[in-house]
Symmetry: C2
Subunit: 226 residues, 2 copies
């Protein structure tokens, strides 16, 4: 039974990857760089987007907002006058806990690919399944809040292992927590040696410049590649 189950999962992931490649072809055709932006619930993804969407020189940003229900984050970002597309995963039960390539594909007609250079896909808040499903992205960025504890890389290794950048957020709270930053970085190194990582505070703005520069660098690299 276990083998059967593994086979079913493999086939589902195969199908997902086929659709992810189709998404990628559409993104490439329009010269749009795509980031799959992931974290646990409440780690600060939306605030980290608010910090950059209108402030990347020469880069027009769009957002695809994944949520189980509601449009609170999309509403926040729409106030900044960037194109935001809401994608809800609720099919009548508890909802899907992640975005997959087909859900993203279904939303693409609503995304103004011709008018943007960078599409930030804010995934559902979850450290497990979003890491399993490629959606056609160029890079994966994850946020780990210091309030979540130092053990998270060891408990959710696929997420930390498959991302290209880790934003360690809410560092303004470090003086008030029993959180050992060195221990977190040691765990991160065990799971994903040398992965890019910045210490940031979406609240105070600390480290945000590095996050902006990293994104600008990725967009430039993708443009050069085309």
């Amino acid at each position: 039974m276990h083998r059967t189950r593994v086979k079913v999962v493999e086939e589902a992931l195969d199908a997902n990857n086929t659709i992810a490649r189709a998404n990628r072809a559409d993104f490439d055709q329009h010269g749009v760089t795509v980031i799959n932006f992931m974290s646990a619930p409440g780690a600060g993804k939306t605030t980290l987007l608010e910090r950059i969407v209108t402030d990347l020189p020469g880069v027009r940003v769009g957002v695809l907002e994944g949520d189980v229900q509601g449009s609170m984050d999309a509403d926040r970002l729409a106030h900044l006058h960037v194109p935001v597309t809401q994608l809800n995963t609720d099919p009548g039960f508890g909802g899907e806990c992640h975005l997959d390539a087909n859900m993203v594909r279904s939303a693409l007609p609503e995304v103004p690919l011709a008018d943007i250079d960078l599409l930030m896909i804010e995934n559902v808040g979850n450290l497990v399944c979003p890491a399993e499903f490629r959606v056609g992205e160029d890079r994966r960025v994850m946020v780990s809040s210091v309030t979540e504890g130092e053990d998270k890389p060891l408990k959710y290794p696929l997420m930390f292992r498959t991302c290209d950048l880790v934003l360690v957020n809410k560092i303004d709270l470090l003086p008030h927590l029993d959180y050992d930053l060195d221990r977190f970085l040691y765990h991160l190194e065990q799971v994903h040696p040398d992965v890019d990582r910045f210490l940031v505070s979406a609240r105070t703005g600390e480290g945000i410049e590095q996050w902006r520069d990293w994104l600008t660098g990725v967009v430039s690299a993708e443009r050069a590649f085309v």
Copy 2:
């Protein structure tokens, strides 16, 4: 395709509920009260367990520890000399993002049901799928950390709607956050009116007495029911 998908999900949940009832029968036979304990990653479930497992008068506690990988939380609890059973959900991919009834069933031979009165099942850190799968529990308790923001009841409504108690944790951090507790409670009320809720700090011990009393009350009520 959407209808087919809904049917597949319905059938999977049906099968899950059948196994959950079998688990429940085993728990009842041994007079064990079972709590399905859920939250986002890093909300403080394990620390909240450490605060109570050895300190419930007349109640022998066991723990079933659900994690994608590793046994860090189980190791922490084993130090307190309570029976802990580790259940890993990793099948070779990213791992399952929740416990289901069958996974719990597979672990039951390792759980000393005859020697405990209360089994705390610590679910995988995730606010979506754990809410969809009954495992045979008597009650559901969820933890929402104030660091996650006030909007969580609206974004993950099934989790907040199907639980019997909400522990609002890390309230020692309130002075350092832009978090409006009244707004959170207003959102909670919209999603699950009158649900039991305690403001707690696993770190300082504030509110832990209420959490202990609630558990003791549930065990007494279940004993009376038998």
